[in-house]
């Protein structure tokens, strides 16, 4: 079972070097071609899971327990270079902020094709053709010109679409999408979500979709992990989460989401008593 999963995270604990825990005992699996949403408030540790998988945790944080299997390969058994190679072969990232995720002094073309030629051993021509193909696929007009452009010559929405093209270019088994629509305005958000969903189906990639937006969750994912303070509160199918949420926090999160379909429906913030109660439960656990 472990071998067939694209991603299998077991009891993952990430903490600051000072000892403060950021993630506690996180378990989740991602089957091939599956989309799993990670939801929670800001600071819940959603992005940390993606970063722990990709090996880009900030210098102050480290994995202090548990295991990550990427296509059956235990990442903690590899040295830094092997790990980097393993991740580069199987995974890609759609980052949160399109404005800083592209190198400002390099043209677009090498930023898409570098991993293809470096890790996947493609010829430059093949990588270029693939990049052009995908840029067209993400609805970029005149992709040949865009390939020669510098990032600052392009709009934020265009840059995010380029990053999506770059992530899908090697057809990786896993893509971590770290709030890919948060930095964009609402009209562009819809387009971007549609693109990610289409490409995901085409390529058959499994996606770990980090978001705080329950509306997005409903649109894109089959499974959901609800996080609070670095812990998984509930892990279920998207359908179950919306029709029959078991954890009171999940119910509160759904209630806190304004509805696109029915703007008149009232929404309420997560109650403070609930948060206080959950915090005290986590604190009790940590004493142990």
């Amino acid at each position: 079972m472990t071998m067939s999963s694209t991603l299998n995270i077991q009891n993952l604990t990430v903490s600051l070097r000072s000892g403060l825990p950021l993630l506690g005992q996180v378990n989740l699996t991602l089957e091939p071609g599956e989309v799993r949403a990670l939801v929670g408030e800001s600071g819940a540790g959603k992005s940390m899971i993606g970063k722990a998988v990709l090996g880009t945790l900030p210098p102050a944080a480290r994995v202090s327990g548990g295991q990550i299997f990427l296509r059956g390969q235990a990442l903690d058994r590899l040295n830094a270079a092997q790990r980097r190679h393993c991740v580069a072969q199987s995974a890609a990232l759609i980052p949160q902020d399109p404005l800083t995720a592209l190198n400002p002094v390099r043209r677009i073309a090498p930023q898409i094709t570098d991993p293809l030629t470096r890790i996947h051993g493609w010829s430059t021509e093949r990588a270029q053709a693939r990049a052009l193909d995908l840029l067209e696929r993400v609805e970029i007009r005149d992709p040949a010109r865009v390939m020669r452009s510098y990032p600052h010559e392009l709009s934020g929405g265009m840059r995010q679409r380029i990053l999506i093209a770059a992530a899908f270019a090697p057809s990786p088994p896993l893509i971590v999408a770290d709030e890919p629509t948060t930095a964009l305005d609402v009209t562009v958000q819809k387009q971007i979500l549609k693109l990610i969903r289409e490409l995901q189906k085409e390529v058959g990639t499994a996606v770990l979709f980090v978001t705080h937006d329950m509306g997005v969750v409903a649109k894109i994912s089959q499974k959901v992990s609800v996080l609070f303070q670095g812990r998984v509160m509930e892990d279920a199918t998207t359908e179950a989460i919306f029709t029959n949420p078991t954890h009171p926090y999940t119910r509160a999160l759904i209630a806190a989401t304004p509805s696109y379909a029915d703007p008149s429906r009232s929404f309420s913030p997560v109650p403070a008593e609930l948060i206080a109660q959950m915090k005290s439960e986590i604190a009790k656990e940590e004493v142990w």
């Binding site: 990709l54 090996g55 880009t56 210098p59 270079a81 980097r84 190679h85 991740v87 580069a88 072969q89 995974a91 890609a92 990232l93 980052p95 949160q96 902020d97 800083t100 995720a101 592209l102 190198n103 400002p104 002094v105 390099r106 930023q111 570098d114 991993p115 470096r118 890790i119 510098y150 600052h152």
Partner: protein, 288 residues
């Protein structure tokens, strides 16, 4: 109306920028020409002493001798010829010493800023210790130990001033290292050193160029200071520093001996620093 003002503003700005680039470039080209063609264009032998022609005033004053445009010094040597020959030493020192300084300082700055940890601790302590020495005294000491001569002067400048590069480049590298594109490169399978050289270095390059130009100006000054205290080159070579030192003795009755090398020095240092800023703006696609 609005169209017109929108169009002219960037033009006017780029015009000012160009002036900042071309004016210093013109002065430095003149210096290079003067250095190369010195034997052809200098009206006299810079070392030839004629005690009958001592302290002749420059051309715009009474009592001049034809052919001695900028007058003569206390030993009857032609000031113009000495200034022209002085450009050879000035340019030679600024070019070689500044490049050496730049290579040492930038490399250490990049390593400390990117790899952090022990690299950073060792290099940062080294910078702090280094900067606790008074620089001019340090230079004088070094040249005194190594003996006078062009090589000693160049080595002394590189050994004193590398901290200027190391500090600035370290800080800039640290800023760049936190950018998302560095993570993206790593997820794309780039090795650490590759990331430093092909992703971060191009972003830091404009600052390196600006500092290099500034350093060329500073190298000219340091050489002049060492000449001033007679620690640069033997007195049978004309340098701006030694001219200023000799002119100092006669400042009350032959101020021109001091003034003309001083003007040359001033314009050169100013040109280098302005050229550095101009190039930085031109190099950096983000600033354009």
């Amino acid at each position: 109306m609005a169209d017109v003002s929108l169009q002219t503003t960037p033009r006017a700005r780029s015009g000012r920028r160009n002036l900042r680039l071309w004016l210093p470039l013109a002065w430095i080209s003149t210096l290079v020409l003067a250095a190369v063609l010195a034997p052809l264009i200098a009206p006299h032998d810079p070392l030839y002493q004629d005690l009958f022609l001592e302290r002749l005033p420059p051309f715009f004053m009474a009592g001049t001798e034809p052919g001695y445009w900028l007058g003569t010094d206390s030993l009857g040597r032609d000031v113009l010829s000495r200034v022209i020959y002085g450009t050879r030493i000035a340019l030679c020192v600024s070019l070689i010493a500044a490049t050496a300084t730049c290579l040492v300082g930038s490399t250490l700055g990049l390593l400390a800023g990117f790899f952090g940890g022990w690299w950073d601790r060792v290099i940062s302590r080294l910078i702090e210790i280094w900067m606790a020495f008074p620089p001019v005294l340090f230079a004088v000491l070094l040249v005194a130990v190594m003996g006078t001569g062009l090589t000693s002067v160049i080595v002394a400048i590189a050994l004193i001033d590398w901290t200027r590069f190391a500090r600035v480049i370290r800080a800039e590298t640290m800023v760049q290292a936190q950018m998302d594109y560095v993570d993206s490169a790593q997820i794309g399978g780039a090795r650490r050193l590759t990331t430093l050289v092909s992703e971060i270095l191009p972003n830091v390059l404009p600052s390196i160029v600006a500092l290099l130009m500034l350093e060329m100006g500073i190298a000219v000054i340091v050489e002049a200071i060492l000449s001033f205290v007679n620690l640069s080159l033997s007195s049978d070579v004309a340098t701006w520093g030694s001219m200023i030192a000799e002119g100092r003795n006669a400042i009350h009755f032959a101020w021109w001996v001091l003034l003309f090398p001083l003007i040359a020095l001033f314009l050169t240092v100013l040109s280098f620093s302005q050229l550095g800023e101009g190039l930085k703006q031109r190099f950096d696609p983000v600033l354009q």
